[in-house]
């Protein structure tokens, strides 16, 4: 016997609200890690309950043709994160410093170490400078390993729009990798 799909569980929760608890048990850990990468453990722990409460209250709107609720939950999370942009930016800059330090240690102070120390903060700046919609598409794709289709479901966009947003985000980052490109990217 196979387990009921998320769509079936959410369908059942319309009459039996307690059934929605199973959606939490299935996905809360994944969603918490997603929030944690973006805003750190403390804020994420506060947000995860809020996210599922919103999902529960909107469960009538869940598109039952989707079997997994996860992209939908990511989408609700993306919206919640918009209110935490400052914390996100802070964490991203800290991550850039740590990535730069890690890279420098690996290469034992060669010429590349200097590059990494300069490069990663600029990557952080470039990600920060993206419009919200492009940054969200990029981070869902790059950090959460969502497919184009799942990103489209999360952000409620046509897949073609996701593709073009990701292409624009890629173009911004590519400039950092090209010779002399570092100077062309705005640093804020």
């Amino acid at each position: 016997m196979s387990l009921p799909s998320d769509a079936e569980v959410i369908g059942r929760s319309l009459d039996e609200p307690e059934a929605f608890g199973l959606i939490y048990d299935r996905h809360a850990a994944t969603v918490l890690r997603f929030l944690g990468r973006r805003v750190g453990a403390e804020v994420a722990e506060g947000l995860v309950g809020e996210l599922f409460r919103i999902a529960f209250e909107r469960r009538k709107m869940f598109d039952a043709s989707r079997t997994s609720a996860l992209p939908w939950l990511y989408g609700i999370g993306s919206n919640l994160l918009l209110k935490h942009r400052r914390g996100e930016a802070r964490r991203l800059r800290a991550s850039a410093r740590m990535a730069a330090a890690g890279e420098a240690a690996d290469k034992r102070a060669g010429a590349g170490a200097l590059d990494a120390r300069l490069l990663f903060p600029r990557v952080a700046d470039a990600i920060e400078a993206l419009p919200d919609g492009e940054r969200e598409a990029l981070l869902l794709f790059a950090w959460e390993d969502l497919s184009y289709q799942s990103v489209a479901e999360a952000l409620e966009l046509p897949i073609g729009t996701v593709r073009s947003r990701l292409n624009r985000a890629r173009a911004q980052l590519r400039e950092l990798l090209e010779p002399g490109g570092e100077n062309r990217v705005r640093s804020r």
Binding site: F20, G49, L173
Partner: protein
């Protein structure tokens, strides 16, 4: 390195407490319980008679924001709407016809022997809505010394309604009476 890999280099997992998911689950389960609990129904339900129940229901929704509970309709065998129930906040009001119970609409009787007082969250917005829907204002929106902002309106058949909201800043004339004495 590909551009996306560059972004991936900045991905950093947060370190969570072992019980990190418990608080979130509690928030969700509280929301679930709130919905699953049967709503407490008020003990007293005013019954308000109208000549035209359907017109009244439409007006009460448009003007005052009272929502009909569709499952509470009472319809005769030949399809006549005999009684309906509207809800607002934690309260219910019965909307019925005239007749067997002896109560009549002011439109038929010419007097209003009672009024219904309703507390709202935003009395200014409520007032605007009522005016837009054609409610007759019989006492303008204003602040009172006991710390309330109210207006009075007549509905489409002349029933008298009072809408109020507590206000924090009491006008200069002082606080002489408490709302319960009004």
């Amino acid at each position: 390195m590909k551009p996306v890999d560059l972004a991936r280099k900045l991905r950093r997992d947060a370190a969570f407490e072992p019980a990190a998911l418990d608080r979130g689950k509690a928030v969700l389960m509280a929301a679930i319980r709130r919905e699953a609990e049967p709503k407490r129904r008020p003990t007293i339900v005013p019954q308000v008679p109208y000549q035209d129940i359907r017109a009244a229901l439409s007006f009460l929704e448009r003007a005052f924001g009272f929502r009909e509970i569709p499952t509470a309709r009472f319809v005769s065998a030949d399809g006549e709407l005999l009684h309906a129930t509207v809800e607002f906040g934690n309260s219910l009001i019965g909307v019925g016809g005239q007749g067997h119970h002896g109560a009549i609409s002011p439109m038929s009787g010419g007097v209003e022997s009672q009024f219904i007082s309703v507390q709202v969250d935003d009395v200014d917005a409520h007032y605007q809505r009522a005016v837009a829907a054609g409610a007759r204002i019989v006492d303008e929106l204003r602040d009172h010394s006991w710390g309330e902002r109210t207006y009075w309106a007549l509905d489409l058949e002349g029933h008298r309604w009072r809408f109020g909201q507590p206000i924090r800043e009491v006008p200069q004339s002082g606080r002489r009476r408490r709302p319960s004495e009004h």
